[in-house]
């Protein structure tokens, strides 16, 4: 066995995993606050990447301006979605809410095709290009810097949700909506914030993924891996999102490197099936207790 290759792939895998963790974090924030499974998160990533393409590639603004703007755009998209589509679905069955987000993802895919054309696009380079060596290990700089940026935002989010007023409100809402509401927390506002911040995390990840992997209206389908991540870690667990993201990213890259690309989906979905049968609520998820 070629250990150098193994470690190089592992680092690449963990770096991909860091980006997965970021998306999964966005997903979990939305789920924790609003109990909505957001199947459209991949499309929010895709649209944000297109926004970045527009700002940095077509309008030729500096990436340091374009990136925050793209994130803001993604966040606003999430917030508008919540207001227009998710809010009226309050109290409907989970099937309906899931289908609404699936419908939304279809709308976004079509809209992207109409606005930016159906073909694949390449984002302008904005990450340093010099390859990085750790000892003898070669790491592609794009992936390494993407991972660093993703981890940076992850840390910001974790600190923010731990210590800020908004974070406390979010956690309060997640643990008991009625109690939070009676303590003066505006639950509708929390819902909106959750969608905003969740989509913003996804937006950054979308730009990072597109920077190394290219972009097309169908890029959003990578969110299938994210679903595996969140189920694996537990839908309502931030730790789960982090651990799950790293693990699934690593596993996917290792499968791609050692077995071939077509086995990626098979491996992670097989893993998913086993997790669901053995630990239905994921590694760190809270078990739901049902009452009549």
């Amino acid at each position: 066995m070629d250990w150098l290759f193994f470690f190089e792939s592992s680092i690449a895998g963990l770096a991909t995993g860091a980006i997965y963790s970021l998306v999964a974090l966005g997903f979990v924030i939305i789920y924790k606050a609003t109990r909505v499974i957001n199947f459209a998160i991949g499309e929010i990533m895709m649209i944000s990447a297109y926004l970045f393409l527009t700002f940095a590639g077509i309008l030729e603004w500096h990436p340091l301006i374009a990136l925050p703007l793209a994130m803001l755009g993604g966040g606003l998209l999430g917030s508008v979605t919540e207001k227009l589509i998710i809010r009226p679905m309050l109290g409907e069955s989970p099937i309906s809410v899931v289908m609404v987000t699936i419908g939304l993802s279809s709308i976004l895919v079509g809209a992207a095709q109409i606005i930016w054309g159906p073909g694949p696009r390449i984002l302008p380079d904005f990450l340093p290009r010099a390859p990085i060596f750790i000892g003898e290990l070669y790491v592609s700089s794009k992936i390494a810097y993407s991972a660093l940026i993703a981890i940076g935002l992850l840390v910001c989010y974790l600190i923010y949700f731990r210590f800020s007023r908004g974070g406390v409100a979010l956690r309060a809402t997640a643990s008991d909506q009625a109690a939070a509401f009676s303590m003066g927390i505006s639950v509708p506002k929390v819902f909106n914030y959750a969608w905003f911040f969740g989509s913003m995390a996804a937006a950054l990840a979308g730009v990072l993924v597109a920077a190394s992997g290219g972009l097309s209206p169908y890029s959003g389908s990578m969110a299938l891996s994210i679903l595996v991540v969140v189920i694996f870690g537990g839908l309502d667990s931030l730790t789960g999102a982090l651990v799950g993201g790293l693990l699934v990213g690593w596993l996917e890259t290792m499968t791609g490197a050692f077995l071939g690309g077509e086995y990626k989906m098979l491996t992670i979905f097989t893993l998913l099936t086993f997790v669901l049968v053995l630990k239905p609520y994921g590694l760190f998820g809270t078990k739901e207790i049902e009452r009549l």
Binding site: V98, M99, I114, L224, V228, F269, L276
Partner: protein, 347 residues
Amino acid sequence: MRIGDAVSTYPSDEAIFRTQTQKVWMGIFIATLLTFPFVSSPYTLFLACLVGIAVISATGLNILVGLTGQISLGHGGFMGVGAYTAVWLADNMGMGLALSMPLAGLLTAAVGVVVGLPSLRVKGLYLAIATMAASVILHFIFVHWEPVTGGNAGINLQNANIFGINLNSDLRMYFVVVPLAIIAVLGERNLLRTRIGRAFIAVRDRDISAEVLGVDLLRYKLMSFGLSSFYAGCAGALWAYFFKVVTPESFPLDTSIFYLAAIIVGGMGTVLGPILGAIFMTLVPEILKILTAVVVPILPNAQVLLSPVRVVVFGALIVGFLLYEPHGMAEMWRRTRRYSHLWPFKT
């Protein structure tokens, strides 16, 4: 509510058609279906066959999602299993449709039961994702089990027969598909009147209460998965007989979403819903095509926009129906009927 149809016996209360008028209309409907292929253009006939297959499949999904309340994103994968099995049986065993379709359905039902196993431990969204995992795994099998599935190139159906009659025209397919669709719908309607159907509904409404009342969850959930995938398998087999070729891309994840959308737009949990939904969703692209033809003089590049617009409309229909008409087209139909019954009085 109809006035003046008080029933005095249990059979008449359970009857499928409760009034004479309904029977007459049903007769007219069947007669229309019988004469339709002789007056329609070849293209509408082609569409009619597609609609018939979609009705069978949507009805099957409705049993699982609408009646039993288990979300499934694996329906497309099940149709694929049915399609591959039917083609394999027809080509390698020389079977006709009359034998290969039920066998394909049975095999798919078995696969469905296995896929349904997680439903005993997980519910709702977790189950949706578990079934999605199943469809990903099935897709992998379609691509890689080359001796049987022919890999990416797929397999062709050489021997499309039913009782020795070659199914080589849309007209012949029509007379296979439509009666089967009617049988499928009748089957579902009758299921609703049995203990099994009522148990399904009990599981959907509150599974714990159902269990307390003596409904065996294990049995009925798996039965629902089995029945639903049986329908899907048969629909997949018909699909294969209709197009004469099956590839792994014939039944992508989008197929599952398409059928979920169809039963939502039509109205989940009703008999009429999946029928209306399947008809509507299959015809929407055609309506858009006609609209494009109208718009072309004003907007020359409308043709290019057709495919993305179709995607947008598909999504917008799902969102729009869920937001503004959550009970779907079946509810619209019911409202219209009630209005016409009581006219000129207000409902």
